[in-house]
Symmetry: C2
Amino acid sequence: MQDTAPHTVIASPPDSRVIADWIRLEGTAGVGCRTGRLLLDAFGSPAAIFRAGQAALAAHVPAVQAAALCAPLSSELARQIELTLAWLSEAHHHVLTLHDADYPPALRQIPDPPLLLYVNGQRALLSSPMIAVVGSRNASTQGKANAQAFAEGLSHAGLCVVSGMALGIDTAAHEGALRGSGSTIAVIGTGPDRVYPARNRPLAHRIAAEGCILSEYALGTPPVAANFPRRNRIISGLAAGVLVVEAAAQSGSLITAQMAAEQGREVFALPGSIHSTLAKGCHQLIREGAQLVETVDEVLAAMRVSPLVRQAAPPPVAAGNATLLAALGHDPVEPDALLARLGLEAGALAGELLALELAGLLERLPDGRVQRVVRAA
Amino acid sequence: MQDTAPHTVIASPPDSRVIADWIRLEGTAGVGCRTGRLLLDAFGSPAAIFRAGQAALAAHVPAVQAAALCAPLSSELARQIELTLAWLSEAHHHVLTLHDADYPPALRQIPDPPLLLYVNGQRALLSSPMIAVVGSRNASTQGKANAQAFAEGLSHAGLCVVSGMALGIDTAAHEGALRGSGSTIAVIGTGPDRVYPARNRPLAHRIAAEGCILSEYALGTPPVAANFPRRNRIISGLAAGVLVVEAAAQSGSLITAQMAAEQGREVFALPGSIHSTLAKGCHQLIREGAQLVETVDEVLAAMRVSPLVRQAAPPPVAAGNATLLAALGHDPVEPDALLARLGLEAGALAGELLALELAGLLERLPDGRVQRVVRAA
């Protein structure tokens, strides 16, 4: 693809008039990302397109589109511009045009980059190195734990984790990423003033505050089924790689992975049991050339990011504790329940628990229960 | 590799004198598979080698080996020949030489085919199309169920399943294969009159009766650690493909897979949970180019064998367990994590888990985690 000529990239924030022209261009019937870009390449800016006149435009686009571009501004679009300018006056709300200097460069390289990006949150994240973590909405508990752990590890290594804010894997990925320094970007399939699904409202607020919500859809755009697969090209387009954690055969995550491959991005997939329907999509990707990964470091190595600086390994747990650790699991547990599970005497158990606590491997909760503390290797 | 010249292949069973010469050749100090084959290519037969004289031999092998070949028959080798001829007089005992017409042609193509094969059982199986199914001795219950199901399916499709009669995956593979029409070949690392491990004595008897036991080692050869990896080249050498079901990192099954790849055989591997140590070897193979497979039909397609005619599906598991089975997923899981997932009391969960375990649908792992076991349809 031909990139936008450097002289058209502007470093200062666009003013209201410029924003209005971009919204008008993007909102004109029949003008999508590809036609818009073609005209921008030919005329240099939306203002120049609207000044060009029908004959000049018709040399590049069908007559009906040329006519639409020369028609007076519709009241509907005027209202949309007004809404957008009001939205932009609020803190942490931004619009990036394809010509803005901080439009994500990787996204600008895809065949059909959005003309406009609506941003709610930390705009600076758009210049981070990014990796997408995606997967099934109907994820397994283990799948969600994997997504969270990988996202957290990738974020700790400085990568910003991009996902789609759907339930399941996406949600777990955003949550894990928010724990690390790399933070997270949610690319949504509605207008930037909408949250879908409603259950993710608290997560959306956290991401807007600490991370970044991104949309190519105009304010007020409701959830429309067709917009979600199309949105996936932005998820993969932003990122240098896409990690698929769990995916059924023929699922949306595979579309994202396919787009990623077409965009020249690395595709990673976690394998799973041959008896799990949620592993079938990942296995298909691996057969088609995706890189099978078991650890965060494998992803980082392929992305040429330095592996995490490890904290000192925890003191080795006395051999006798393996049974206790297994019995503890990873949830809060009543000491009495442990007694029953282990068949120990109360005094012996108390001693074992104290040893774990002193080693920093056990926490006593205010309600008297105990919980194992797993420290990253 | 240069194949044995056709004129040296003999169709009728070798007589005692010929067998004795082969045993003497194979048993001469310093003469292994490669030197033996070199001399056979040069002189045509063991008898011709022994007639050639030291000077002629020394043109092909070091002087010390030439001298050893011209020395009188040792009493030790004479005794070995006597033992072998006695063993051969029993039903279903055979010795195949590299020049026999029914020496398995695929095995003859490897760089170091055994000069002699000791066969106990259905000699005709040696001309079957074969696939190897191998894996860990310390297999999980699910791994063994997978090995059995795949071996049974492959055998039903007419493939003879080759394995090494070790505990774990090998044993499960032989057992599954014995249920199908393709039967099974056990390639052992001891003499054909020994069984190792002793626990597999009943299985060895079944394989000798219905399938075939194969060894390159002389009668009386005890289990010696070095012989088992070397034996693996025969397992892969006989087969057109090798399926690795479960394997830890740096395990013997990976040696078999590596030999298979060097011999130009297809390598297949079953994926598994990223949290299972027994999946790590398979994942390594997949990263190195092995074909990830989830079903018998995928293996058959790659082997260009017609897929099976399906039997009816098994009765579904009682509905009451659906929630628990869903919560279990297909990865190793801490019982405590299940409690949290299901909101059950510990006692109630323990009862449900026990019921699943008794039904053969759950495995308790050594580290205290549990894992669902899916049985073949």
